[in-house]
Chain length 301, copies 2
């Protein structure tokens, strides 16, 4: 599981900082999360293959999280994309995207599917044989969801030596890896646990931006391996959180601690701060395993 | 008159090239022409003051000419802009801009005026005491206008020595600069030509992108000082012009020559060409005074 931060700063794009976008590579799938202005250029700079992105998850319709979407959708067309593209985001995202395509008289040469979200309850929005994606309802100035990406358990790992000792034929190996016991020709039942090792623990990643401090998300993100949580402000500016509906670094760390997260990645920094290291210092007083997002940074999780 | 090229490449933004946007500074006014994705970052990189832009002229609603508009409009709000902002462009530009603002629940704190264009005839879209802006109807895959920016003549320059010799009082100086003759107390009439010098010739700038080769624009841009004309392709790819409705470098030079332009600036280069110098070589066979646009380049005209 790799996370590439394309942009992690709040509000306006600047010469050296980009608005929110990140790519999660998980089980050989590549998911784009949020798509601020300039995301397609950030994809190029980070040498990520456009054609591998088939699913885009948008948290909310503030510009710093989705103004790059229409440009990317258009560029996919110019690159002669064939694969279906699925876009998940708040109601309205379909209307605005299709209006822009209509005005430019340039429809996509590929199938474009919108999955518009309106529920205030957590729901599954994507599921295949390897990964499941669940919304994390957040509280912000507009309707907003975070997303929880959870790997499904791999097959159990076969202990080939033991299987051979019992003379089990290879055609039974997939059955064993799927967790079944095996009955030998002489009637003995070999329990699965004797024939297999545990697979790696499935990993999970939660993206939570933008939001106020909100303990209601704790049951959804409990025990998550990696939590990306916005921390627009420091405690010294905590008074701004109520009006803007954002979070401080300390509040983000408190959520991470209560959720028993494995790691906390802070992002969505207000550009008022010159040095983002102070976000880590503040969060570390509450929660130990903190890292800072930064544009172009890759986390191998 | 200064022209700053923020972006001059066709189709998708890339790491090192930007879609169309340029700033024309004329008579102390700052006009933004087109606004591809990333324009606000290009404005910052080129150290141009956002607050001086009060008029934005959009040629057409293809993404590489206007996907940066909504981001700029939003950033103006975040920067607490107070000045009115006027946007000129094809019908539809108001609907799509207001829809995006509505979806993000973020209305502008300043007055936003849309001047939607539908006419296929050239028309005056802006005029004040110093500058007049006229549309140049172009022929492209969607409704498109170029823009002709023309300075109004300055006041005549006073020959102070002559005025003093005649004993003319300073309170008459503005009347003289406005072109009037003066009657002295003794009844003699001093013709204006004796009291003044000619002011500098008013300058003009024509922006023509995107378009096919189109001689119908010649009467509008006749004798223009500086012509920016798209040259997406070279003659070797001329066969692509009909379908895509673009121009070759040679065709752009032919327009410049027929219009008796003072200078031709080529732009909107297809990113298929590695070296843009070949555009200049091709155009120079037809028209001598050719320059190439490039991102970040400033022309002092």
């Amino acid at each position: 599981m790799n996370l590439t931060i394309l942009g992690c700063y709040a509000a306006t794009p600047r010469s050296m900082t980009n608005p929110t976008a990140q790519v999660l590579e998980i089980k050989n799938r590549m998911f784009l999360i949020d798509c601020g202005e300039g995301t397609q250029v950030q994809l190029r700079k980070n040498k990520l293959r456009f054609s591998k992105i088939n699913h885009i998850f948008i948290s909310h319709l503030h510009g710093d999280h989705f103004y790059g979407l229409i440009g990317l959708v258009s560029t996919f067309s110019l690159l002669n994309r064939n694969n279906d593209l699925h876009i998940y985001g708040p109601k309205g995202i379909k209307e605005v995207t299709l209006l822009q395509l209509k005005l430019s008289n340039s429809y996509t040469g590929y199938n474009l599917y919108f999955h518009e979200l309106e529920s205030k309850e957590s729901e599954v929005v994507f599921e295949d044989d390897k990964v499941i994606v669940t919304t994390i309802p957040l509280v912000h100035r507009v309707y907003t969801n975070g997303y929880l990406f959870t790997e499904k358990p791999d097959d159990r790992k076969l202990n080939v030596d033991v299987a051979k000792d019992y003379g089990i034929e290879t055609c039974y190996y997939q059955k064993i890896k799927s967790g079944n016991d095996i009955t030998l020709d002489d009637g003995r039942v070999i329990p699965n646990a004797e024939l297999t090792f545990d697979p790696p623990e499935p990993k999970s990643y939660a993206f939570c931006s933008d939001t106020v401090y909100n303990e209601a998300i704790l049951p959804i993100i409990k025990d998550v391996d990696v939590l990306y949580h916005e921390s627009t402000f420091l405690e010294s500016e905590a008074h701004l959180c109520e009006r803007t509906m954002h979070t401080t670094a300390k509040q983000a760390a408190t959520i991470a601690k209560q959720a028993n997260a494995g790691k906390l990645i802070l992002g969505h920094f207000s550009t008022r701060y010159g040095n983002i290291e102070i976000f880590k210092e503040e969060a570390s007083t509450i929660f130990e395993n903190v890292e800072l997002a930064d544009d172009g940074k890759v986390f191998e999780l």
